[in-house]
């Protein structure tokens, strides 16, 4: 199971201390007090180690995401017990790993901060923005957030922001970005669109609104602001990387790597899996409840050649393929950059697999045209923000470089010297192109 899985979403509990409007987990009230047992946790860690030992190409780094509900409900003692065990076992068996956690931070304490610090846990925090942006959430305001962020900084804990765009924050994305980047020396944040999975209404914005008032705002800021250090949003960073890779190689590079979200046929069930507090294994943590259709097996179930998981994943591949064909995504101009929607959200909302064309296409088709119209400016800006001290931008295309691609870059983007990176290493399969300004 873990022979080819690089990320585990481990739900310590499905209970949460908040009740945010756009949350996709169903029936949180049924999970009051639920918490994973140490025994189950140990069995999961042992399974990860065992499966990776016999794997042909285990992913280089294994990421364990402590998730929920709210994982901090576990309390500092249990978190230290779990992370201590995992960290010692992983070290002993040479499993290179990262710990991360998705939390609302409201239960942060000095003891918890010290656990996060000691085990190098990267914390993903939801930040919806300033002022009325937080009105979709309960018990959260900007002042409280500031206190928590300061505490994380004091304890030297890495953190990244996730902003879910919904009706409450759609109109002040720029102000919220200004606020974050003025205050914190942080990398790009992630801006996702909310989907009204539970059908309660009131939270979801249209695809058109999302593109125009969120992602386009980020792109405009990137192009127009003087001395920008970075593109402020990470989905767009990946999309830009893919866009330029596609035009340079003149092929649709969705094929180049295994990944989780954002791929035409996402990795839920293969590259990424989710485990519930009772040890049941599912496709992905984004499903609103335990569906029979998304169940893979239990952590204690035996498996030969990982065939149980592979065949369950293949079931989704077949369904997703049919949906892509029906919607003619293969013939869409935005195909090479589109995320093709989250199957978990769709399934949770409609009880079957499908594609929210109203939402997804309204975001990605205009985005595609925006990229085409601005590709030269974007390329120049990427060079400015990505070049190192020697003025070189190393562009990684994740493929073995062909000479023709170098020509494609020089023809399209004037004023650059382009060559293969001399430190090119096949061993790591990390082929890069070095770009300099003339």
């Amino acid at each position: 199971m873990f022979g080819h899985t690089n990320m585990l979403i481990l739900k310590l509990t499905r209970d949460c201390n908040l009740r945010c409007k756009y949350c996709y987990i169903k029936n949180k009230d049924n999970f009051k007090g639920e918490m994973m047992e140490f025994y189950t946790f140990k069995r999961i860690i042992q399974r990860i180690i065992k499966d990776r030992k016999k794997a042909t190409y285990p992913p280089k780094i294994f990421t364990l995401v402590l998730h929920g509900g709210e994982p901090l409900l576990a309390g500092h003692k249990k978190l230290r017990l779990f992370l201590g065990y995992a960290s010692r076992k992983f070290e002993e068996s040479g499993v290179k790993h990262r710990f991360s956690m998705q939390t609302n931070l409201t239960l942060l304490s000095t003891e918890i901060l010290s656990v996060l610090h000691d085990y190098d846990v990267t914390v993903g925090v939801s930040f919806d923005g300033i002022k009325e942006s937080n009105s979709s959430r309960t018990d959260i305001n900007t002042e409280k957030f500031d206190t928590h962020f300061r505490e994380l900084t004091d304890f030297n804990i890495n953190f990244g922001f996730l902003m879910v765009v919904n009706k409450a924050n759609i109109n002040n994305i720029a102000e919220s970005l200004d606020y974050i980047f003025k205050k914190y020396d942080t990398g790009p944040l992630k801006i996702n669109y909310a989907e009204d999975v539970l059908g309660v209404g009131g939270s979801e914005v249209t695809g058109k609104e999302f593109f125009e008032k969120a992602w386009k705002v980020v792109l405009d800021r990137f192009l127009e602001k003087e001395n920008t250090k970075q593109l402020e949003e990470s989905n767009l960073s990946n999309i830009l990387e893919r866009y330029f890779s596609n035009i340079i190689t003149k092929k649709n590079n969705i094929e180049y790597m295994r990944s989780n979200c954002g791929l035409k046929i996402c990795g839920g069930g293969s590259n990424i899996i989710e485990i519930n507090p009772d040890g049941s294994v599912h496709y992905c943590g984004r499903y609103s409840e335990d569906f029979k259709e998304t169940y893979i097996q239990n952590i204690e179930d035996e498996e030969f050649l990982e065939l149980k998981q592979i065949s369950r994943y293949f079931d989704t591949v077949k369904v997703k393929h049919k949906i892509l064909k029906e919607n003619e995504c293969d013939l869409c101009p935005a195909d090479g950059i589109c995320d093709h929607g989250c199957p978990a959200f769709y399934y949770s909302k409609y009880g079957k697999f499908g594609l929210r064309k109203d939402l997804v296409c309204e975001i990605f088709i205009p985005l595609y045209y925006y990229l085409v119209k601005n590709e030269i400016r974007l390329f120049n800006k990427l060079y400015e923000t990505k070049k190192n001290q020697d003025g070189i931008w190393y562009l990684n295309l994740h493929l073995n470089i062909e000479d023709e691609w170098i020509d494609n870059i020089t023809k399209k983007f004037k004023g650059y010297y382009v060559e293969r990176d001399k430190n090119f290493k096949t061993e790591n399969f990390n082929p890069q192109i070095a770009i300099r300004k003339k």
Partner: protein
């Protein structure tokens, strides 16, 4: 070295069995496109007993399945 299936310490033989899967889908434009997350490799290292059993069972069961698919 222990057999990855039965867990017994291996002597005399260890047989590595690797399954390489490469999956592509047929696009709307009639060309093939790889499905990266469905292109993978898995492995077991078996003791001689487990391998013999595996070879026999696989052969039998696969033929059975073939009949089922053909019908």
């Amino acid at each position: 070295m222990k057999c990855t299936f039965c867990g017994k310490e291996m002597d005399e033989f260890q047989v590595g069995v690797t399954l390489n899967i490469k999956t592509s889908r047929l696009r709307n434009d009639d060309t093939w496109e790889e499905v990266p997350n469905m292109s993978l490799s898995s492995k077991e290292v078996l003791c001689s007993d487990c391998f013999s059993e595996f070879a026999e069972v696989l052969n039998e069961q696969v033929l059975k399945a073939k009949n089922k698919v053909e019908k």
